[in-house]
């Protein structure tokens, strides 16, 4: 057993790598985290914030299952805001500005105190394979570290090229290196690769900004943290500020557009539409007179300000010129220019829901190298990859979450049939059952699963079970009890109804056995009840189709009636179930009927043969 250096090797110390390494080690597996530099473990490469719409749900789900992103963010949080409070609970999400330094320090601390986990510095350039199974990694200096599972979380570092105007340099982040050989090594295993682009805005010196001109954005007065298990520490909360671009700024951009790597053809990778560069915005939406710019402090001990909204790869002089025309930033000093980065990724239809690579057993891929974007998306993948690698070593069934169970399930399910044209980001609209998958009930949905894994303690899970019981009992009591002609349930369903309103109207309710912090959850449960019941039919239909698996050796070329487009997609993405096939954009319902007919015929033939 101990003829290897570790049981699990995690390559990369970003959001995916940290969750993967901590999960595997906490499940008792000897784990080595290989990183280019120990100092960059837990770095927030882009914006100083965790959460956001659709993403905050991911962070809370990771927490409910026993991952760390939420608790680390809470240690570093400076400004919390619940988003979409005017919209309805199912689409509300928490977002926090965090201190980048505190964040990475806390992450490094967790890793350093974690038993079974060691950190090794180095650049992984090849996968060590024994008997057709991943058996370790080979470092740049030729050394081999052996293991039984390898999890790659290289982020944007594979053959990474940064662009500022015409100037190109190698590296996945300013001041850091790149990994040159790994893409080719994996390509040699038959993995398809692709190229994506992302970008980051300039960082400015806060002491050179005229804050008096800017609009103030205040945090929530009584913030709720990300983690279900810890109280948010008492702290003085920080304000954020906003300003705007105007036509004079856009003029500068137009003037320099021919020198933008995106428009000159210098960059071939595709960037995300939801996070466009400022030059993208000006070109695509010429009618907009201005774009909002958020100024976000990167930490308490640093003057660095992240200029959210003007991600750019224009030449340095253009960046300086355009920033000087933004109100409040006229005399701002640059600490770092914005840049675009191009990197290799592996289209994730090549991985299974466990994040294990189909081409090589024992190799897992997670995070940005799967073509995603975002700290939260990366952390969710890393967590699943780490857990599933450990479960497989223990000969236990994998952790696979359904689309009706968690945003994490939606993410994994989307990725395995995804051939992204742009980095994949979570949105609430990707979750068809988002009324059930709320940030407020992540613990109710997932803590027991975390307990079964062994990452959530029994005390924690007991608390969640008690909460669930109180909520269930209160909802049924609302159904039972009447006030005048209406049940209390009906009263709660009136738009705008609140628990305190109910207490005022109906004597005795204040004495019910219901924890104050659960009142809102009861109200939300009542509000969505009928919709969720209606969705149950959809959930069951989806589950049935998920049961209907598509054989791995199915030859789509021989199935009559399929349209060519559908045939191409099915051959390429090879969905594992009918449900998954149905969600491929190029596959129509009539293609699905043809598929089911063919499956039926195949089933009949097999039945005949077996007799």
């Amino acid at each position: 057993m101990r003829d290897v250096d570790a049981e699990v090797i995690v390559v990369g110390g970003g959001h995916a790598g940290c969750e993967a390494a901590l999960a595997a080690a906490r499940l008792g597996r000897e784990t080595i985290l290989v990183t280019l530099s120990e100092d960059t473990i837990g770095a927030l490469s882009c914006n100083p914030a965790i959460g956001g719409i659709g993403k905050g749900q991911l962070t809370r789900e990771i927490d409910a299952l026993g991952g760390v992103q939420a608790q680390v963010a809470d240690v570093a949080g400076l400004h919390y805001r619940m988003l979409n409070t005017s919209k309805g609970e199912a689409v509300q999400s928490l977002r926090a500005q965090v201190d980048k330094d505190l964040y990475s320090k806390e992450m490094r601390r967790l890793i350093s105190v974690q038993p079974h986990l060691r950190v090794v510095e180095g650049s992984v350039e090849d996968i060590h394979i024994v008997d057709g199974v991943a058996a370790g990694v080979q470092l740049e200096d030729g050394a081999t570290v052996t293991s039984r599972k390898v999890i790659l979380t290289n982020g944007t570092f594979l053959r990474a090229v940064m662009h500022i105007g015409e100037i190109q340099s190698e590296g996945g982040r300013i001041g850091e290196g790149t990994v040159r050989q790994l893409t080719g090594a994996l390509g040699g295993l038959g993995l398809e690769t692709g190229r994506l682009k992302t970008g980051t805005p300039p960082r400015l010196d806060g002491s050179s900004i005229d804050w008096s001109q800017l609009e103030v954005q205040r945090p929530d007065a009584n913030p709720q943290g990300f983690s279900h298990w810890n109280q948010l520490p008492e702290r003085e909360w920080m304000n954020c500020h906003t300003t705007r671009t105007d036509e004079s700024v856009h003029d500068v951009i137009r003037e320099y557009l021919h020198r933008s790597p995106i428009f000159s053809g210098q960059i071939e990778g595709v960037g995300p539409r939801y996070c466009p560069s400022i030059e993208d915005k000006v070109v695509r939406f010429p009618d907009r007179q201005g774009h909002v710019v958020h100024l976000e402090r990167e930490g308490l001990q640093t003057p660095s300000i992240y200029v959210n909204g003007i991600s750019t790869s224009l030449p340095a002089e253009a960046q300086e010129k355009l920033v000087a025309r933004i109100p409040g930033l006229e005399t701002a000093r640059f600490l770092r220019h914005g840049y675009a980065v191009e990197y290799d990724f592996f289209p994730p239809h090549q991985i299974a829901r466990t994040f294990e690579c189909q081409a090589l057993s024992g190799l897992y891929l997670a995070g940005q190298i799967c073509g995603t974007s975002g700290y939260e998306e990366a952390a969710a993948q890393g967590f699943l990859a780490g857990v599933n690698a450990a479960l497989d070593l223990a000969n236990q069934p994998p952790l696979i979450l359904g689309r009706d169970e968690a945003y994490i399930g939606v993410l994994a399910d989307d990725l395995v049939r995804c051939d992204p044209r742009e980095p994949y980001r979570m949105f609430t609209s990707r979750a068809e059952f988002r009324l059930m998958l709320r940030h407020d009930n992540a613990d109710l949905r997932l803590a027991e699963k975390g307990e079964m894994l062994g990452l959530i303690s029994q005390e924690q899970a007991d608390r969640v079970r008690r909460d669930q019981q109180q909520i269930t009992e209160t909802v049924s009591r609302l159904h039972r009890e009447r006030h005048g002609t209406r049940t209390l349930h009906e009263m709660m369903r009136i738009p705008g109804a609140t628990w305190s309103g109910l207490i005022e109207a109906v004597p005795g309710v204040e004495n019910w056995d219901l924890d104050v912090r659960l009142r809102d959850q009861v109200r939300v449960a009542v509000r969505y009840e009928s919709y969720i019941e209606r969705q149950q039919g959809e959930v069951e239909r989806m589950r049935r189709q998920e049961q209907w698996s598509l054989p791995a050796d199915l030859n789509y070329d021989t199935i009559p009636g399929l349209r060519n487009e559908a045939r191409d997609w099915l051959n390429r993405l090879r969905p594992d179930t009918v449900a998954s096939a149905q969600r491929i954009a190029g596959v129509s319902p009539s293609d699905i009927s043809c598929l089911m007919v063919a499956l039926r015929a195949r089933g009949l033939e097999e039945e005949l043969e077996s007799h």
């Binding site: 956001g52 719409i53 659709g54 988003l83 979409n84 919209k87 309805g88 199912a90 689409v91 977002r95 539409r273 939801y274 996070c275 466009p276 560069s277 993208d280 915005k281 695509r284 939406f285 907009r288 774009h291 909002v292 958020h294 959210n308 909204g309 991600s311 949105f427 609430t428 609209s429 990707r430 068809e432 988002r434 009324l435 738009p495 969505y528 919709y531 209606r534 969705q535 199935i559 009559p560 009636g561 149905q582 969600r583 491929i584 954009a585 129509s588 319902p589 009539s590 009927s593 043809c594 007919v597 063919a598 039926r600 015929a601």
Partner: protein
């Protein structure tokens, strides 16, 4: 093993010549049992696809009937099974004898659509083509055939596609407001959403042949259910259509929005519309729904006046007097709950149907009466509107009703409005093609400037 089934696949007799089709694993063998030859031909003696003159017998006393048969091997026929096509004289007496003889030798008459279903299950045709074929078979006259052709040529796909695209646009705008609220995205509020959705609702009404002005012709005759709250209209609708369309609740006034169902009887279709109970509206939501329903009832459709038969005769008389004058000539009274011990005298309101939705008593007779009555009142079937088959009609109609409900309760919150609209859209997409959340996102990205 596929059972051998048979059916006439040309216009029914009397006709100079009819086409009889057999389909199934031993179709040729079954057919040969009717062929008189000496010695009888063996199945393998018949060449596939080559027409062959044969003499058929069904009765020892009758002279043999000459016919032309074509044999199809497994995999080559329209359904994909082994099959035989026989052209023979369309004399009813002869045909009856031959069909009876086929049953004696182990074949059975095909159920409606069974050939098409077999073709579908064998992967020979897809669902939408199967439906169009079925519609062509059902089409009764030239105009109806033309309407079906329009469906086949994509008119339906175009109209439904355009309604679905408009719904998707509104959905994308609402979703953008939810997922990108932190960025300066303009997203419609509930009032604006209503303004955007009303025209889509009108389009769907037009497609379904619903008439708000009374001048637009519909494809399917329609009957309205009218009556007091809790008279049993929803139960009656469910009993007539055999589906759980309306939510039935003992509390009066459960139905707040019009519910449609399709009654199918002897190959004819009648749309049944269940309107909210006739009572003074209470909440704002209810009054909006009632207003819409009253718009519909102003058209000149036949009306079924649903009466709780367990009430006093005097009360019922009073209610009759309160019916609008112009309805008198087109009202058919139906007394419900005839299973109750307390029920009006049989002499009272003799023209009324007496039914129980609970026990099913009188329902079959009422169905037949309504089909005949609607055909008379509505005159000829108007064929200039789109002609849907039953499945398509039900889907479009459900979409229409869900959309109507979404408009009524748009104030409940944008995330719930989205759910209602997705529900409506899902039904439309089942008729044509499916959209994935990816479609919504594509639309969002093409319309809005995003990026924080």
């Amino acid at each position: 093993m596929e059972e051998v089934i048979f059916a006439l696949s040309s216009p029914p007799p009397p006709a100079p010549l009819v086409l009889l089709r057999l389909d199934g694993s031993e179709a040729t063998a079954r057919f040969l049992e009717l062929v008189v030859e000496s010695p009888p031909r063996r199945a393998e003696g018949l060449l596939p696809r080559v027409p062959l003159r044969v003499n058929l017998t069904w009765d020892a006393d009758a002279p043999p009937t000459p016919a032309v048969a074509v044999v199809w091997k497994r995999g080559s026929s329209w359904t994909g099974n082994e099959g035989v096509e026989v052209a023979l004289p369309g004399t009813p007496a002869i045909l009856d004898g031959i069909l009876a003889r086929l049953e004696q030798v182990g074949a059975r008459p095909a159920t409606p659509g069974e050939f098409t279903r077999r073709a579908f299950l064998n992967g020979r045709i897809d669902l939408s083509r199967a439906e169009s074929v079925a519609a062509l078979i059902e089409a009764e006259d030239r105009a109806a055939v033309a309407a079906v052709r329009r469906v086949l040529e994509g008119e339906m796909a175009r109209q439904i596609g355009s309604a679905a695209a408009e719904l998707l646009q509104v959905l994308a705008m609402l979703e953008a407001g939810l997922d990108f609220s932190e960025q300066e995205v303009e997203s419609p509020g509930s009032q604006q959403a209503r303004v955007l959705l009303e025209p889509i609702l009108a389009d769907l009404d037009q497609m379904l042949g619903a008439r708000s002005s009374g001048s637009v012709a519909g494809a399917i005759p329609r009957i309205l259910l009218w009556g007091r709250p809790n008279a049993g209209k929803s139960s009656l609708l469910n009993a007539l259509t055999g589906e759980e369309l309306a939510i039935v609740d003992a509390a009066a006034g459960t139905t707040t929005d019009a519910v449609r169902g399709l009654l199918m009887e002897s190959g004819r279709e009648v749309e049944i519309l269940d309107l909210p109970g006739d009572r003074e509206a209470q909440g704002e939501v209810e009054s909006r729904a009632l207003e819409r329903a009253r718009d519909v009832v102003d058209a000149d459709d036949p009306i079924v006046w649903v009466i709780d038969g367990s009430r006093d005769a005097a009360e019922i008389e009073q209610e009759r007097a309160s019916l609008p004058e112009e309805w008198r000539s087109r009202v058919h009274p139906v007394l419900t709950r005839c299973d109750r011990e307390r029920f009006v005298d049989p002499q009272f309101l003799p023209e009324a149907s007496r039914v129980s939705s609970k026990s099913g008593e009188g329902i079959a007779a009422l169905r037949q009466h309504l089909v005949a009555w609607s055909a008379r009142s509505a005159g000829q079937q108007r064929s200039d509107a789109l002609r849907f088959n039953a499945r398509q009609w039900q889907l479009v109609s459900t979409c229409r009703d869900r959309l109507s409900l979404a408009i009524v309760q748009a104030d409940a919150g944008p995330e719930l409005l989205v759910e209602d609209l997705k529900d409506a859209l899902r039904h439309l997409e089942e008729v044509t093609g499916e959209s994935t959340p990816e479609d919504v996102l594509d639309l969002i990205f093409s319309r809005f400037c995003l990026g924080k």
